[in-house]
């Protein structure tokens, strides 16, 4: 049981804010976290049904809305099950006990004589009534105390079961599951004009004698230009025609081939994560090693562009959105539109996977702005793929410099990690200054005010290894592109660097990489996932490069959430320099597991996204007319690249839930780079590991390095 009540329960203490028994004997639950394809609805329902002895099918989850859901901020950071799950568990436990107490009072007996089963109350075999029948016995305005003990994990019947996700059948059958699928009577279609060169600003727009069939509105506010048409294809064509009448002031961008050199010239603010003084220890070390690793800018690149629908009706503005945070977005929109919050309703609907802060919030502002010009009509705005790829905030390019000393015994005695990153924070915060349309209206630069240093940049810069005397710090630059949160934030690049470097050190000491890791760890759960991953993957100690290889990497996400170790088996095509990943073995300890299949699904997804980011993904804006236009400009993983994936879970039913929604992405970069080195002798330190990069690396290798390499 938690020592203090979770923060959201302090803000929303009323039991009925979270759970309500319905007359038809179902139970409605009101989480503030939203479904992002992570299966949160089903997992939360399992927790509640478990505490309340209800069949899973009795749980109803209305859409998350500012009308009735508690404000749980953003659905992000692998925190939903930990936070929302705990709040709902405490709420459900209390509801269970109050049902018992109410029945005991009415039947003048002890609560110990009251049993709950399948949504009904019993007194020693005698049916007292269903929850729906007795709900009025309860004190309607009771608050959640957090003092009722949740069920013992040994008596679980639902938690820990691989229950099928309740939302999957409708999605598979093509029913209207997504925001994009909503239809309203007399709905009209909006589009917003955006430059096809990244960050360009509107210079002029000539709308004289412009015939746009089906056009209902052309709205211009500063540099914000939007249209509304009767039919969707009319809106698409109208926008094309309108764009031909615009001229743009182009935006100078850095040379992306030399991107990290440029970033190093920018002013920075520094955050020290660990304040060691390793200088002396470096001097004492027997061997010293240094290496630098880089990540380019990368995009969320959702499978479909962002969409929103807005309707102004009777002075009330309603926005349907697939944002990750309807309350923060409501505050942001209220400020931007200068519109009272109480007259603004936000309703969440599932969207295509977003993986962080993408265009969902921006397009909600676009729709709201257009809807305000046309009361009584639902205005649907959908971005184009080009607009999504070019206007969404990216994850920043990063540069990680590592340095380590090794003592006589081959142990790390000194360590220095210096990261360079832009901020990973750019989400709407209620100031009205974080949405694309707002900058256009104000004719301001194309990105938000800088957020400065914060945790996301140094996430997993520290590790669980014993590293002797260590200094870990991260410098934050203010870069040329719009940035914000992408799944794992800085943890992906930081872990790529740390876990590649650990491998380089293992190699330098001629120690097996698995043994080297175990030698530097004390945390038993960390060791357990590594050992199991090595065992399941049939780990072979490196002998010499053969074209095929194995690599391992490990991280505990945020050093506080799920533990993940991964082994990659791959081969390198000596002619094309293409990597082909054959098998990924993932082992995860996520503490108490609510739904093992849901957890595996998330881990598999994170693994494949990790492969995609390691091998393919890169934002380059100085080619192809200045931007990312489509799936040819931004390459991602496809079905031809999919390895076998084996995922194993270590179950710890007594332990708290450890968030795992992002845990399998961080180790992937290094697991692949380490396997590539094992296969070929080529140590790659710059992502993505494209054939071009591998060839370049080869061209720049020293003779000493080349001897160990296999590649023609």
């Amino acid at each position: 049981m938690p020592e203090t009540l979770p923060a959201v329960l302090q803000t929303f203490p009323l039991l009925k804010s979270w759970l309500r028994i319905n007359a038809d004997n179902t139970l409605s639950m009101f989480p503030g976290k939203v479904e992002l394809g992570q299966g949160i609805r089903t997992a939360l329902a399992q927790i509640v049904a478990e505490e309340l002895e209800l069949p899973l099918s009795s749980i109803r989850i209305p859409e998350v809305s500012t009308e009735h859901s508690p404000d749980e901020g953003y659905t992000a950071g692998s925190a939903s099950l930990e936070q929302s799950g705990l709040a709902l568990r405490l709420a459900a436990a209390q509801l269970r006990e109050s049902l018992k107490e109410a029945a005991a009072l009415r039947y003048e007996t002890d609560t110990a004589n009251i049993q709950l089963k399948d949504g009904k109350l019993w007194q020693q075999g005698k049916l007292l009534g269903s929850y729906g029948e007795v709900k009025d016995w309860l004190e309607p305005n009771q608050t959640i105390t957090g003092r009722v003990k949740p069920k013992d994990c040994n008596s679980y019947t639902l938690i820990g079961q691989a229950k099928p996700r309740s939302d999957i059948p409708a999605k598979v059958k093509g029913e209207a599951s997504f925001l994009h699928d909503l239809q309203f009577p007399a709905m009209v279609h909006g589009r917003v004009m955006r430059p096809s060169q990244y960050g360009a600003r509107l210079k002029s727009l000539d709308t004289r004698e412009l015939e746009l069939p089906g056009l209902i509105k052309l709205e211009r506010k500063g540099n914000f230009v939007g249209i509304i048409a009767k039919e969707e294809f009319q809106a698409v064509k109208a926008l094309e025609k309108l764009a031909q009448r615009a001229t743009w002031e182009t935006n100078p961008l850095p040379n992306f081939t030399m991107l990290h050199n440029h970033l190093q010239t920018l002013a920075t603010e520094e955050l020290t994560v660990r304040e060691g003084k390793p200088e002396q220890h470096f001097k004492m070390a027997k061997t010293r090693l240094e290496a630098s690793y880089t990540l380019p800018y990368q995009a969320h690149a959702s499978v479909a562009p962002s969409c929103a629908i807005a309707l102004l009706d009777n002075e009330q503005l309603t926005v349907w959105t697939h944002s990750q945070g309807i309350y923060p977005l409501r505050r942001e929109l209220a400020k931007l539109l200068n519109w009272p919050e109480e007259k603004l309703t936000l309703i969440h609907k599932d969207g295509p996977g977003c993986y962080g802060h993408n265009g969902a919030d921006d397009v909600a502002a676009d729709a709201a702005l257009l809807a305000l010009t046309l009361p009584g009509k639902a205005v649907r705005v959908l971005w184009s793929l080009e607009q999504e790829l070019q206007n969404e905030p990216y994850t920043p390019a990063m540069l990680l410099n590592l340095k380590a000393g090794l003592d006589e015994g081959g142990k790390i005695n000194a360590w220095e990690f210096t990261g360079l990153t832009d901020s990973h924070v750019g989400r709407p915060g209620g100031q009205g200054d974080r949405l694309r349309a707002g900058w256009e209206i104000a004719n301001a630069p194309y990105k938000a005010k800088w957020s400065g240093p914060s945790e996301g940049g140094y996430r997993n810069a520290e590790t669980l290894y014993r590293l002797g005397e260590a200094r870990v710090r991260t410098r934050f630059y203010q870069g040329p592109l719009r940035v914000s949160a992408l799944r794992t934030l800085g943890a992906f690049a930081n872990t790529f660097a740390n876990e590649s470097f650990i491998d380089e050190l293992a190699y330098a000491t001629q120690t097996d990489p698995v043994a080297f890791r175990l030698n530097h760890l004390e945390d038993e759960r960390a060791k357990a996932v590594i050992r199991l991953a090595a065992k399941r993957a049939n780990w072979q100690t490196r002998t010499q490069a053969s074209g095929k290889g194995q690599g391992i990497a490990f991280a505990r996400y945020k050093n506080a959430k799920a533990y993940v170790a991964q082994v990659v088996e791959l081969s390198l095509n000596a002619e094309t320099a293409e990597i082909s990943i054959e098998l990924v073995t993932t082992v995860c300890d996520a503490g108490q597991i609510i739904n093992p299949d849901g957890l595996k699904n998330q881990l598999e997804g994170g693994t494949l996204q990790g492969i995609s980011r390691t091998l393919f993904e890169e934002i380059k804006l100085d080619w192809d007319g200045g931007g990312m236009h489509d799936w040819d400009s931004y390459s991602v993983i496809g079905f031809k690249d999919i390895p076998e994936i084996e995922t194993f879970l270590i179950s710890e039913p007594d332990s708290p839930i450890l968030g795992a929604g992002e845990a399998s992405t961080p180790p992937m970069g290094a697991a692949i780079a380490n396997a590539l080195f094992d296969a070929s002798g080529i140590r790659m330190r710059d992502l993505p590991l494209s054939p071009t990069r591998i060839r370049q690396r080869l061209a720049n290798m020293t003779d000493e390095e080349l001897v160990k390499v296999i590649l023609s």
């Binding site: 059958k173 239809q183 294809f233 479909a304 793929l385 598999e604 390895p643």
Partner: protein, 157 residues
């Protein structure tokens, strides 16, 4: 510019008034309420909008409605029998699920053309279907299961 079009969709004849150039996706989704055909890239690159035209997988976002007159169109809503959809549900082959209807339609064309498709054949058939959530390996398994079901049903028939 609008003219009457007759389309044969899911075994029914539907008449609509539309600009004949309109990509059929807008007619399916906005005029006929068949929203199972998803809007993705709108460029013919991602496969989210895949439908069957005379049994072949086609992109609804780049196919003009007029060109489909007189042809037999199937969308996810009309895909029968349901063993491919069932396999996706059994395998829990979805994360956000947005790509899935398009992938199922691509798979449906494959299953008809090549009932003994190998994993490599499935990969090849799906080479222009994107999934950004990383559900690929479950999708491959689901399609293999569907192929298996079809074979078993045929041998019992």
């Amino acid at each position: 510019m609008t003219k009457p079009l007759e389309l044969h969709i899911n075994g029914q004849t539907r008449s609509v008034l539309s600009d004949p150039e309109t990509p059929v996706i807008y007619i399916l989704r906005n005029e006929l309420g068949l929203v199972g055909t998803k809007q993705g890239c709108s460029l013919g690159q991602c496969g989210a909008c895949t439908i069957l035209v005379e049994g072949k997988a086609e992109r609804a976002c780049t196919t003009a409605a007029e060109s489909l007159q007189g042809k037999c169109i199937t969308t996810i809503e009309g895909l029968e029998p349901s063993f491919i959809k069932d396999a996706f549900i059994v395998e829990q082959a979805a994360q956000c699920g947005y790509c899935i209807p398009g992938i199922i339609m691509t798979a449906a064309a494959l299953v008809n053309e090549n009932p003994v498709a190998s994993r490599e054949d499935i990969r090849a058939a799906l080479k222009e279907n994107l999934c950004r959530c990383g559900t690929h390996s479950r999708i491959l398994k689901a399609i293999e299961m569907a192929l298996q079901t079809k074979l078993e049903r045929q041998s019992h028939a």
